[in-house]
């Protein structure tokens, strides 16, 4: 399969791995931002192909994982209402709220449906004028254009029984928060290729300059990630700190301009709470005033819902790269994919789930 096979090629992986070994002269700590990249790293055991000097830290780029607990609780409260059809991408249904998840709401009689596109939720709203159809709009910049399009279409078509529960988050403010933290030890970043496919990478240039860190836009296949690591290490060894693009087959410097225009039309930047991390200024999207009638938090009174995280779950430290999943005392014991304590154990992109599914082989890659 073109664009896939050549990036899962044994010989290509071996070559890049040798090149990384030949380039690396001292310890370096890198962070891959995106949960999809974490998944590939653990699934393919890429850490075993790297020299001892390189440490990979798994970043906060799993949209399911960083969605705050209280927003999940709000989703559960809305989805439990008899007058609501609650729609979501599949991943979100298993994320535990304070007492239950959306799948339990469904099993208890709530009308909770998996959709494959937010536009399907708009269609549902038109088919069920007697119901209020809510779409759970989570995600990074990658899912912002389709979510914006759904709201844009709903307005254009006059669909008044559609709304979104919005928890969009943005990558660059998260990188800035990580780099500004006194405990930060990340020296280079693999930026998320799909986010940059939408947004381009110009906004990363001031970050690389201000914090003197190389940032390499990287794809998701094993050879992509090894190449991204090689480019970042080369910069570090040469004392450079630039923004480079490994994922040239998908990412342009200015991104997808029509998609960005649509985001600008429907959303505006806002402060956003990240699960396990806390509030990061200007790190998310909310509906702009012109579209706020589509905001589910305004339509349904859920403002009183607050929630406390499980004290056993160290998701915050994991999402900030301070700890690895197997450092958690609950990992694989109280916390497993069947009974997750925190979101990183739920999502296929969550670091804990990736370690659980692929990395429990004792001395195998992924448990280092």
């Amino acid at each position: 399969m073109r664009y896939i096979d050549e990036y899962r090629d044994r010989e290509a992986a071996r070559k890049v791995s040798s090149m990384i070994r030949a380039t690396t002269t001292r310890p370096w700590t890198l962070m891959e931002i995106c949960g999809g990249q974490t998944h590939t790293i653990v699934k393919y055991g890429l850490e075993a192909l790297l020299p001892e000097e390189i440490t990979l830290i798994h970043g906060p780029g799993c949209p399911v994982c960083v969605t705050p607990l209280e927003l999940i609780d709000k989703a559960i409260a809305i989805a439990s209402r008899a007058d609501v059809i609650f729609t979501s991408f599949g991943d979100m249904l298993r994320v535990p709220g304070s007492t239950k998840d959306l799948l339990s709401v469904k099993a208890g009689g709530g009308d909770v449906r998996i959709v494959y596109s937010p536009l399907d939720a708009v269609t549902l709203a038109r088919q069920h004028p007697d119901k209020k159809v809510v779409f759970f709009a989570v995600g990074f910049e990658t899912t912002a254009p389709p979510n914006a399009m759904a709201v844009f279409q709903a307005k254009k078509l006059g669909v008044t029984n559609f709304s979104i529960l919005c928890s969009h988050v943005l990558v660059p403010p998260a990188i800035q928060a990580i780099l500004s933290s006194p405990s930060n030890h990340v020296q280079g970043f693999l930026a998320a290729g799909h986010v940059c496919t939408v947004m381009g990478y110009e906004e990363y240039i001031p970050l690389a300059e201000r914090f003197q860190v190389p940032i390499v836009v990287t794809g998701f296949e094993p050879v992509d990630i090894l190449q991204g690591i090689a480019m970042t290490i080369t910069q570090l060894e040469e004392g450079r700190h630039e923004v480079e693009n490994q994922y040239v087959r998908s990412v342009r410097r200015d991104g997808n301009v029509p998609a960005k225009n649509l985001i600008g039309e429907v959303f505006e930047t806002t402060d956003r709470k990240w699960r396990g991390i806390g509030e990061i200024p200007r790190s998310g999207y909310r509906l702009s005033p012109e579209y706020e009638v589509f905001d589910a938090e305004r339509i349904f009174d859920v403002s009183g819902i607050n929630a406390q995280e499980s004290p056993l779950c160290i998701a915050g430290a994991i999402l900030q790269g301070l700890k690895k999943p197997h450092n958690c005392s609950a990992f694989g014991k109280e916390c497993s994919p069947e009974h997750p304590l925190g979101a990183p154990m739920v999502s296929s992109e969550g670091a804990c789930a990736a370690y659980y599914h692929y990395g429990r082989l004792g001395s195998s890659p992924g448990t280092r």
Binding site: M1, I4, R8, D9, R10, A13, R14, G36, V42, K43, Y44, G45, L46, A48, L49, P63, V64, F89, G90, D91, M92, L93, R94, L103, S104, K106, A107, G108, I114, V115, Y116, D120, V138, G139, F140, T142, T143, H194, P222, V223, S336, P337, E338, H339, S347, S348, E349, Y356, H357, Y358, G359, R360, L361, G362, S364, P365, G366
Partner: protein, 355 residues
């Protein structure tokens, strides 16, 4: 129910699933993954304690006089009921035929139970019934008893079908998941994941254009050809719900051995791989309806592969790995780039990802 758990044994058996975890049945309890296993072991096996059930094989092996019989049952709740390459009707026949074949039995007689939702067009029911008869004829089995129930509109999903079947076990064969032995070869009869992806491609809300068709087929003929070459096949399983990964995990667990497979050796259509990439699915967990996994003495592997490839349903048969002593109960895979990873049992349903 908490009170019952805390010791009120007079009111009947204690619910063995802790109420704090799942007070109600979830869809994933029927998904074929770890939650299904948990439900079967804690709920059903704790009450239904027969020796024939305990191995959790595809069917029960029963000694009746001088005869060894296999007996199996399965229910079909697929949506949509018509899909590329098949219908719920042929699926219901082939599924039970295959479960019997996986016991090393020659399928003979089937029963069928219909639960029909009020309002199902007669034309649709006729299509299903005709497909069942055609499938039964192709598999060489006879439908000999049945039952029909109709439920209120909205209380079913068009049509649910149960089939049960009995078959005569071939003399000299002892097929059992616990017989996987280190050194054995792991064979697959063809390309994986066709059925699951073909059905998804026509599911409401997810339609995508594809030439893919379901692989639904009766495997008893292929099994006959294989047993003719090698009566000492250790394990046969059809990797249906939960896919190849779940089947291999169940075998590894039953036999307390490890199973090591090579990603590059597993036959899979490019179109299936593409669809899986798009949806965020792992094809190892996607259902098949006309494929089998055979665990066989490695000395017999070449002859068996030749026999399988000579049969229309085994043309793309491949050796995908071996049974290994350690780690017991764990399936590992050598990836395309040469690293090793665990192929875990799926926890719940495979859910399409966000991005």
């Amino acid at each position: 129910m908490n009170d019952i758990q805390s010791g009120d044994l007079t009111s009947g058996p204690v619910c063995p699933i802790p109420i704090s975890e799942y007070p109600q049945v979830m869809l994933a309890h029927g998904g074929g993954g770890r939650l299904s296993q948990h439900l079967i072991r804690t709920m059903f096996l704790s009450q239904f304690t027969s020796d024939a059930l305990r191995p959790l094989h595809d069917g029960a092996l029963l000694q009746v006089g001088n005869m060894r019989l296999a007996f199996s049952t399965d229910s079909y709740v697929i949506r949509p009921i018509f899909f590329p390459g098949g219908t719920i009707g042929d699926l219901a026949v082939n599924g039970t035929v295959n479960d019997l074949a996986m016991c090393g039995a020659r399928p003979l007689y089937l029963s069928t139970g219909f639960i029909i939702e009020e309002g199902l067009p007669m034309e649709d029911l006729w299509r299903v019934v005709v497909a069942m008869q055609a499938a039964a004829k192709a598999a060489g089995v006879t439908l000999v008893t049945g039952d029909t129930k109709v439920v209120d509109r909205g209380k079913g999903d068009k049509i649910f079908i149960n089939t049960s079947g009995i078959g005569l076990i071939h003399a000299g064969t002892f097929i059992n998941p616990a017989r996987a032995t280190p050194g054995d070869a792991v064979l697959i009869s063809g390309r994986i994941a066709d059925h699951g992806i073909a059905v998804l491609s026509v599911r409401e809300g997810l339609e995508f254009a594809t030439q893919l068709t379901s692989d639904t087929a009766p495997l008893n003929g292929l099994v006959d050809a294989m047993l003719h070459v090698c009566p000492d096949i250790h394990v046969l399983r059809d990797p249906t719900r939960g896919g190849l990964a779940s089947t291999l995990n169940e075998i590894a667990e039953s036999s307390a051995t490890g199973i090591r497979i090579r990603e590059e050796s597993i036959p899979i259509a490019d179109e299936v791989r593409g669809a899986c990439e798009m949806l965020g699915f792992d094809p190892l967990y996607v259902a098949n309806e006309g494929k089998l996994v055979a665990i066989v003495p490695s000395t017999e592997a070449d002859d068996l592969l030749a026999a399988m490839r000579a049969h229309p349903l085994g043309r793309e048969a491949a050796l995908i790995g071996h049974v290994v002593p350690t780690p017991p109960g764990v399936v590992t895979m050598e990836t395309r780039i040469g690293s090793t990873r665990i192929v875990d049992m799926l926890s719940g349903e495979q859910l399409p990802r966000i991005c």
